[in-house]
Symmetry: C2
Subunit: 578 residues, 2 copies
């Protein structure tokens, strides 16, 4: 009972052994994560097209909710790049950017996605994530990264440049290129340059200035904070506002009001498909980060409980005026590297963000949007992995088709159709392959009871027997292929009297395949041939016994293929080697 | 070259050997099929909600088009029950029943479906039909038959009773039950009674009256013709029209005008999904009939050429004012039993129907709709096969779920959602099963080189070696299951030093599974364990060689599992039997 309770409510486990040294590690990690989360929260709110404070709100209660229900010790939940882009795309379809309806729709999206994740968790639907193949996920995140980067160029250049696809974005940017704001552009480009340099150069510099390596590495991650401080000061002293540079502007001070958002059936039904996609993508992203980190410390992740925790986090985001959240890679790695030991670190980080919302918002007025856009652009370059195209190309054609379909569809048709196209392509390719199972004509290796493919080995066969090894489960999609294959083989070969199917790799025979086998048995019978089976697995045999098939079978079922051939071969003719 | 031409244009084959005795057989079959087709064409036009003449038009040019391109010698193409119901459902969504737009939409539907079938044929997409499993097709046709039967009750009772689902139909019928027309009801019920009796009793009676058995059997199939003659005469002499009985009414005399229907993008895009569904269902139905008949005479069907022929038939239906057609079971069986030898029989039947359109239409004025409804109801009872539910239940749970999903969804949500639900359910269930592949821990059978499941056999194992046989191809949907399985096994068992995967049933390792294997190799390496493979198939090995996997593998790849165990087992410890 206790164990089940603990499975549903993991703090019962980790709180039991909690002590002061863990508290110290968790507090330090929380401080570092808080500093990193503030610019990230603001930036992803900008990416989602939402007011800056919603980014902060999405980083308070959701962290606490995940800490209470999540199975990862170190996963950090909050706004992330891909989910924010998907939110912008979905919400942009039902409300005008910047309107009150737009924010309302984003909040509804978090609620809907949260409830879907909770439902999937309670129904133990975690296995659904398996249907997103690695190439599809890599391709999708890569293409999303490219779209995100392009979508932020407008803030860097201080021009209009909206769109959900690469074509819309490029068309919009090029038509407005004449209105570039020089100061915004300098701020943004300098920001990008600094942040790229900070990734490698800042740590080296700090070490050279005498800081210990570990602290220097940590501080170097705070590059975005330095960029924000520097450009906010510049904006204040040189009056960027008067020079037409877009600033973050008024951010309401204080904590979010907590309350259940109004239920709007029309809005919910319009957002439903988008919410499902964002839920699945967020879940896959989060679980893959959680698994990677857990593996490093020999901990385990329970995918179904993760669904519940992410669902709770999104519901928490919605009731506190936030937008869809999930476990993010970069923030989780910072949390992990900073030494977080338990989810308490996330609770402390939530308190840190809450303090920021209470105290720091007046300062944010002067922050140029170009700076936030620069942090997004630099962050998403780590998402873009064009190497997956090369790896897939080298490895297999179907993986290559799946990854290219995903990337091209995401770039050209947007994130939602992109991820759907990827899923459909990968499942379709897999199914297509199984419609043509590998079937080998086999013969005996001289002096043994082993049977091997006649095309690869010197084996003994008998003219009156066709031995076939079927290398796939038989089900509706390949049943007719087997029929055609056997009829084709028998039609060519008039000496045949017996067909034996060797079935060690047949893990299942469904009703369609059973009907195909019945048809084969019947047709061979009409031609005066017997159909025999060998090496049928236990569970398959159990299923066949429930039907009439074995009763009507013209031949027999043999335990081993050797027994079948020994029994069926004519005694008078010597075997010959082909 | 000639052979390829013949493949595309089959008459080049069968015309070459055409001679007088074939002509005789074909002419006789054509006469019988014509007599049967006239009531059937009128009835299915009524079922589709279209004027009677469109049923005749759909039975002239389409038959000739199929005869020119089809690979079945005896398939009879024309309006059929399920496709007519699907046409009614699809067209009813875009136009009011009985309006000119309604007929225009049905003609557009035939064109769209024809072009789709042609495109699928040219792209060689015939394999798509494999994804409709037998239980789904049986369930769908059974549920459609029930809906068709219910939909015709309104004509039997002479009341209103429209709807696409069982709920709509029952609600509409019961609310109008007060307006029953007694004469229509008597006509319809007597028609049903006569037609059911005619199936078995008419032949017996004719034989008893001295007719030879074969001719009696043929004539008994003309039951609907007798019913039509009798009720038309009754209608004429007792003035059914004045008594409020719905009659077929004015049918334009003459042949259809041939012309390409106007292209209407909005209409086409509204009909596109429905046209795709009707194309696939029609194709599957037609090919299964064609295959059954071809098998009886050792002929073969080429599914991709069938797509082209059915496409041509539907385009022909559209340009001559008809509606979607496909190969029908009952009409093809009549054609076959009547002795049709070549598709020339269909061309002659088309001429017969054309003559009927020229000469017989004035007589049809008095034909009560109740008679046509009776022929439909009696015909669809042969489609209803509730036994498929029992067979699926006995055989396997997943087949049962697929068949019930299809039947319930078709009855409750209509034909289109029904067939989609069936396809999604059967593919989803199949994929779900492959996400949890069978993995067996194996050991050696004493004195042999055979390895078997430790749970089923007395086998020899070594404490330092875990031998696993994976009984499924490894791909994205089951890659993480394998990871979890191996980690779970190793975590329980600290004595293990080597893991060997025996891969005789692994037909493919895709990129996602390769990445999972790399992760397993890496993780086992961190724990000080080696990962080894045995009995890897040639094509899989070729693929692995294209990646870094073999280079980084901590263990080795062995040709046989026996070699692997012999190499890895510690020499000093004796094996023990578990």
């Amino acid at each position: 009972m206790n164990r089940r309770l603990e499975q549903f409510f993991p703090p019962l486990g980790w709180l039991r052994g909690y002590h002061r040294s863990l508290l110290g590690s968790d507090l330090l990690a929380a401080l570092i994560v808080t500093i990193m989360l503030i610019p990230q929260s603001l930036a992803y709110a900008l990416l989602a097209g939402l007011p800056a404070e919603m980014g902060l709100y999405a980083s308070i209660l959701p962290l606490i909710a995940y800490a209470l229900f999540g199975t990862s010790r170190t996963l950090s939940v909050g706004p992330v790049a891909v989910a924010s882009l998907m939110t912008a795309t979905a919400v942009g379809k039902v409300a005008a950017a910047g309107s009150l309806d737009y924010a309302t729709a984003a909040i509804a999206m978090a609620m809907l996605s949260g409830l879907m994740l909770l439902a999937m968790g309670l129904l133990r639907f975690g296995f659904l994530a398996n249907f997103l193949s690695h190439p599809v996920v890599s391709g999708f995140i890569t293409a999303s990264g490219i779209i995100i980067g392009l979508s932020q160029l407008r803030h860097i250049l201080g021009i209009h440049g909206e769109g959900d696809t690469i074509i819309e974005l490029l068309a919009s940017l090029t038509s407005n290129i004449g209105q570039v704001n020089g100061i915004a552009a300098v701020t943004g480009i300098a920001g990008i340059g600094f942040l790229f340099w900070a990734r490698s150069g800042l740590k080296t510099l700090l070490v050279r200035l005498g800081m210990p390596g570990d602290s220097a590495a940590m501080l170097a991650k705070a590059g975005p904070v330095f960029a924000i401080l520097a450009t906010t000061l510049a904006s204040y002293f040189w009056n960027f506002e008067a020079r037409g540079v877009a600033l973050v502007g008024e951010v309401p001070r204080g904590l979010p009001a907590v309350g259940i958002p109004a239920f709007d059936l029309r809005l919910w039904s319009e957002l439903a498909v988008s919410a499902l996609l964002i839920s699945i993508i967020g879940f896959v992203e989060s679980v893959s980060v959680g698994k990677t980190l857990a593996a490093k410390r020999r901990q385990r992740i329970d995918p179904n409980q993760e669904l519940i925790a992410l669902g709770a986090a999104n519901v928490a985001a919605s009731v506190s005026g936030g937008f869809p959240v999930t476990g993010g890679f970069s923030r989780s790695v910072v949390n992990f590297d900073a030494g977080a030991e338990t989810p308490a670190a996330s609770i402390f980080a939530a308190i840190g963000i809450a303090l920021a919302a209470l105290l720091l918002t007046p300062v944010l007025f002067f922050l140029p949007k170009a700076t936030l856009a620069a942090t997004i652009i630099v962050a998403v370059t780590t998402l873009i992995d064009l190497g997956v195209i090369r790896r897939a190309w080298q490895y297999s054609l179907s993986d290559f088709i799946a990854v290219m379909t995903t990337i091209v569809a995401t770039l050209v048709f947007g994130v939602e159709l992109g991820v759907l196209a990827g899923i459909v392509a990968s499942i379709g390719l897999h199914l297509y392959k199984t419609t043509r199972p590998h079937i080998a004509v086999v013969g005996a290796i001289a002096g043994t009871e082993h049977f091997r493919n006649v095309q690869r080995h010197n084996v003994i066969t008998h003219p009156s027997i066709v031995s076939l090894r079927v290398d796939e489960s038989l089900y509706f999609a390949n049943a007719s292929y087997l029929e055609d294959y056997i009829y084709g083989l028998v039609a060519e070969n008039t000496a045949v009297q017996h067909v034996i199917l060797q079935c060690p790799a047949v893990n299942e025979i469904d009703l369609s395949a059973l009907e195909a086998l019945e048809a084969i048995n019947h047709r061979l019978g009409e031609l005066g041939l017997t159909l025999n089976l060998s090496e049928v697995k236990g569970p398959v045999m159990d299923a066949l016994k429930k039907s009439d098939f074995l009763h009507n079978l013209s031949g027999k079922v043999y335990l081993t293929h050797h027994q079948a051939v020994t029994d069926l071969k004519p005694d008078e003719i010597e075997p010959y080697i082909i």
